[in-house]
């Protein structure tokens, strides 16, 4: 989850998010280098007593500052397009989960084998148990097995919502009347938090998403327990 004064991304919990993280580092490094260079040139220009009134043009430097930015842009574009196509790949999912947005909670349906469905409401601040996160924890978590490709089918019952979990690198709008597909693989066990990312009314900030990634045996135990309760 995000922590106070955090500047960068949350730790990646899926291979796609890892790629995005590394690409962001790459692009940010280029941005820092260019900004440092420009700042240096500005300071050097402003703090010098030298003047030169006789330079009219220079072909060599023009070639350099045409070719170099073009190469830098290509160096940014190629990894970016690669990740774009990577995010779109069909990955033969092991499990399909439906996440449906309501005002103001999410409901999850696991209907591959049995009819398992439950609602996920935020834990109100006055009911928080010790160790739970304010405005982030929910009463029921969406449990998924680790290292399995999961297909999410995301929709909404009333107004627009958006299902987002930053550490998994997933964000997909929940549109009423439309089924959107997103996919991810949870590479490590853990609990990953997200929040509704599309304006949906007074309590948009109060319908978080919690994904709990566990080994497969634990997932099977959890789903049989949930089926009994329901």
């Amino acid at each position: 989850m995000a922590h106070p004064t955090q500047l960068g991304f949350q730790d990646a919990a899926s291979p796609v998010m890892e790629e995005l993280l590394h690409f962001h580092d790459h692009a940010l490094m280029i941005v820092f280098m260019i900004s440092t260079l420009v700042l240096y040139i500005i300071v050097a220009m402003v703090t010098t007593k030298l003047t030169n009134k006789y330079i009219l043009d220079s072909q060599e430097i023009e070639i350099i500052w045409t070719v170099l930015p073009a190469l830098i842009l290509i160096l940014i574009a190629l990894p970016s397009l690669r990740i774009l196509y990577l995010m779109d790949e069909i990955n033969d999912p092991h499990l399909t989960i439906k996440a449906i947005g309501h005002q103001w909670y999410w409901s999850y349906e696991y209907t591959d084998y049995e009819e398992l469905g439950f609602d996920s409401y935020m834990v109100p601040t006055q009911d928080l148990a010790s160790g739970q996160f304010r405005l982030l924890d929910t009463d029921h978590r969406m449990v998924v097995p680790i290292e399995s490709p999961i297909r999410m089918l995301i929709s909404a019952e009333d107004v627009l919502h958006s299902w987002a979990v930053p550490s998994l690198g997933v964000k997909m709008d929940a549109v009423p009347g439309r089924l959107n597909q997103a996919a991810f693989i949870a590479s490590r066990p853990g609990v990953f938090y997200g929040q509704c990312s599309e304006i949906c009314g007074a309590n948009q900030s109060f319908m978080p998403i919690v994904v709990e990634a566990v080994p497969l045996e634990h997932f099977e135990k959890w789903s049989s327990l949930m089926l009994e309760d329901a």
Binding site: Q59, L81, R82
Partner: protein
């Protein structure tokens, strides 16, 4: 017009990389748009002979421009024929 450009280029050779990059970029964008228009199965040009090309997709064909980790020809065909 080409003669004028050539004369100007002789005096300002720094413009040559500009032509290369801008021209290359424009060419690549147009080529991708043309590929989308002509090869994309979501596009229907001929309503009489090929009315719904999106219904004729093969399970092992690749329709995307670039695949990073997938080899569509290795996918198993596990769906019924129409």
């Amino acid at each position: 017009m080409l003669a004028t450009i050539r004369k100007q280029l002789r005096h300002h050779p720094a413009l040559i990389p500009l032509f290369i990059f801008i021209g290359g970029g424009a060419a690549m964008s147009m080529a991708y748009l043309a590929r989308l228009g002509l090869r994309n199965p979501d596009v229907c040009w001929d309503r009489k002979n090929n009315p719904e090309p999106w219904n004729k997709l093969g399970p092992t064909d690749q329709y995307k421009f670039y695949t990073v980790n997938m080899d569509y020809s290795k996918l198993k065909k596990d769906r019924p024929d129409f």
